[in-house]
């Protein structure tokens, strides 16, 4: 993207001034170098989102923004139903409630070393991953509906994990207002063999080491110490969420709000039958993702216990980065209830936010940023400032720098696994091609993205994590 095509308001804030159909500006948080590397499509998509009815303040793009589906990935937009606001299936994404969960342990890297390969095998054997993999949990029709209503709360009540986990999940582990009756039979069938599975692509399960602490007070509040072991899970709502996205995208294209500049922006007024049906289905899919990450957590704990009986991973936090949530935000000085779309963006509530549990009030919400299997990931904390900047939102990952096709031409999975092993990272996978497509070099530098998020004021760095074991789908 040409920086000259934008209006620079500060070092990290770039505006697309309202023009044509735009009701509000588009605002991109990034440094000049990230702007130059961004696809021109981000600008075009952000301007389109800024023209949707009921949008408030601005359409925002995070430092890791890239070309998405209607909305840019790394996009944030909030709509007021009182002003005709809309909800968009593309603004949430196909992998509804895809997110990252981090578990902390009191183990140090040295405690792991002798039995690291054993732990890698135990995790790989316990958590189904990759194309066509299936889970051991089969749900009856009524159990499926219970899961879709209850999310992680259902999972805990069914014996997967602990009640203490729930306060460390957004919305207490359950999206309220879920309507299993708005989820198609096909979506439920697609999920029937996929509970407790990781998926493929950029989804992963990683054992990581805390390599650097930036903010000791927040790290202490999160229970993180230097050199300790953290286990991170990146996955979403599996087949059910993908099918809900598929079903409602088509319905919104055919029966949704008009006029729209491009049908990939398909949406429906929040206060319409279709809008309410999608909201009900999307929340059910959100619960599917939360239940799925909760079940995987249970499987991880069992696998860790097989190798290290004393290792009891506790939940640090669980964030969803493909969502639409009802939240209260300030608009022109007044508190309003808005429907906040975050597509490839993480909620980042600052310290003392009323929706955070007491244990996180001092530090703010953990913002979990996935990197690559060969580089690093980050734990950030939300800032009070991000409320004013972007409805309390921050980035979600590194973002790809290169297509999957280019990556497979440049790297070989088997060779990459060997190189990473020499650097102390054990990869477990059933797909060499999948590893090549996910090569660390195919991604942008996550360090630059999180530094920018911090410098822009969206979140602040707490800890840097480096991978030791990675299970890839």
């Amino acid at each position: 993207m040409d920086p000259q095509s934008l209006s620079r308001r500060s070092e990290y804030e770039w505006w697309i001034e309202p023009a044509g159909q735009m009701r509000v500006p588009g605002i991109i948080y990034a440094g000049e170098q990230l702007i130059q590397g961004m696809d021109e499509k981000v600008r075009e998509q952000l301007a389109h989102v800024a023209g949707l009815p009921g949008i408030q303040r601005a359409a925002y793009a995070m430092p890791d923004a890239h070309w998405g589906y209607g909305f840019p990935i790394g996009g944030v937009a909030a709509f007021d139903p009182d002003e005709g606001g809309v909800i968009s299936a593309g603004g949430v994404g196909f992998d509804i409630s895809c997110g990252v969960r981090a578990l902390r342990t009191t183990f140090r890297a040295g405690d792991l070393e002798r039995r690291k390969a054993e732990l890698a095998e135990a995790l790989f054997e316990s958590i189904p991953a990759g194309v066509g993999s299936t889970g051991a949990i089969a749900l009856s029709e009524s159990e499926m509906d219970g899961m879709l209503r209850g999310g992680a709360q259902w999972a805990v009540a069914s014996g997967y994990g602990d009640a203490e986990d729930l306060e460390r999940i957004e919305e207490g582990g359950c999206a309220s207002g879920a309507r299993p009756d708005c989820v198609s039979r096909e979506a439920k069938k697609r999920q029937s063999r996929e509970m407790g599975t990781l998926g493929s692509g950029n989804h992963y399960l990683e054992v990581q080491r805390v390599a650097e602490i930036f903010d000791p007070a927040s790290a202490a509040a999160f229970g993180l110490q230097s050199d300790e072991i953290v286990i991170s899970i990146h996955c979403g709502s599996r087949g059910l969420g993908h099918q809900v996205g598929t079903d409602y995208l088509k319905t919104m294209v055919i029966h949704g709000y008009r006029p729209i500049p491009d049908r990939e922006l398909a949406c429906a007024p929040i206060r319409s039958e279709l809008g309410q049906q999608y909201l009900g289905a999307m929340r059910a899919a959100t619960n599917c993702a939360l239940a799925n990450r909760q079940i995987i957590t249970h499987l991880v704990r069992n696998a860790c216990g097989e190798v290290f009986p004393d290792m009891k991973p506790t939940l640090l936090y669980d964030v969803s980065h493909n969502t639409c949530k009802i939240e209260r935000h300030l608009v022109h000085g007044a508190s309003r209830e808005l429907f906040v779309h975050r597509k490839g963006a993480t909620r980042s509530f600052g310290p003392n936010h009323p929706d955070l549990p007491r244990s996180l009030q001092s530090a703010g919400q953990p913002v979990l940023i996935g990197g690559t299997m060969g580089t690093e990931s980050y734990i950030l904390a939300g800032t009070g400032q991000s409320e004013q900047l972007a409805f309390s939102s921050a980035c979600h990952g590194a973002g790809r720098a290169m297509s999957r096709t280019q990556a497979t031409k440049r790297w070989q999975g088997r060779k990459l696994i060997e190189e990473l092993r020499e650097r102390g990272v054990l990869i477990r996978t059933r797909s060499y091609r999948g590893v090549a497509e996910e090569a660390p070099g195919a991604y942008k530098d996550v360090n630059v993205v999180v530094q920018t998020a911090e410098q822009a004021g969206l979140a602040r760095r707490v800890a840097r994590l480096v991978p030791l074991i990675c299970v890839k789908g």
């Binding site: 890239h66 066509g132 697609r190 692509g201 995208l249």
Partner: protein, 144 residues
């Protein structure tokens, strides 16, 4: 399966984190069949898939572009619920509906050079068109 025309082929194109697919053919049906092969090639190596079992799908849509999306999503659905990969496709259209035959086999991670699951076919870069020479194009982006 009928013999493909000279123009029948497929390719992938870049889209940020995901994959664009393009099918070309002498007819709309053939372009749809080629797009389906391009979709399968996102997930696995097409040449490794035996055409042992057949599955029939039907879809409807108000225009040919949404029909392409519906067709590809029907294949994605069948792959997911049957745990299968498909390497052969036959399409027949009638007005706004399509009947497709998918031929393939159960997923075998040892043999199929698996890459990534397809989550859904999107309306991004969606295009179904015939050029002046009569060749058909069917393309869109697949979310993976």
């Amino acid at each position: 399966m009928t013999t493909p025309s000279d123009s029948a082929h497929w390719e992938h194109f870049s889209h940020g984190a995901d994959v664009g697919i393009r099918g070309f053919g002498g007819s709309l049906e053939e372009a749809f069949e080629q797009a389906a092969l391009a979709l399968t090639a996102v997930v696995a190596d097409v040449s490794t898939i035996a055409q042992a079992e057949s599955v029939e799908v039907r879809c409807h849509a108000p225009d040919s572009e949404l029909l392409l999306v519906s067709w590809l999503n029907a294949i994605i659905y069948e792959m997911a619920v049957r745990g299968m990969l498909f390497g052969g496709f036959r399409v027949v259209t009638a007005g706004d509906s399509l009947t497709g035959t998918l031929s393939g086999e159960k997923v075998d991670p040892e043999r199929h050079e698996l890459a990534v699951e397809a989550k859904g076919a999107t309306v991004t870069e969606l295009r179904v068109a015939q050029d002046q020479g009569g060749q058909w194009l069917a393309q869109c982006v697949i979310d993976v």
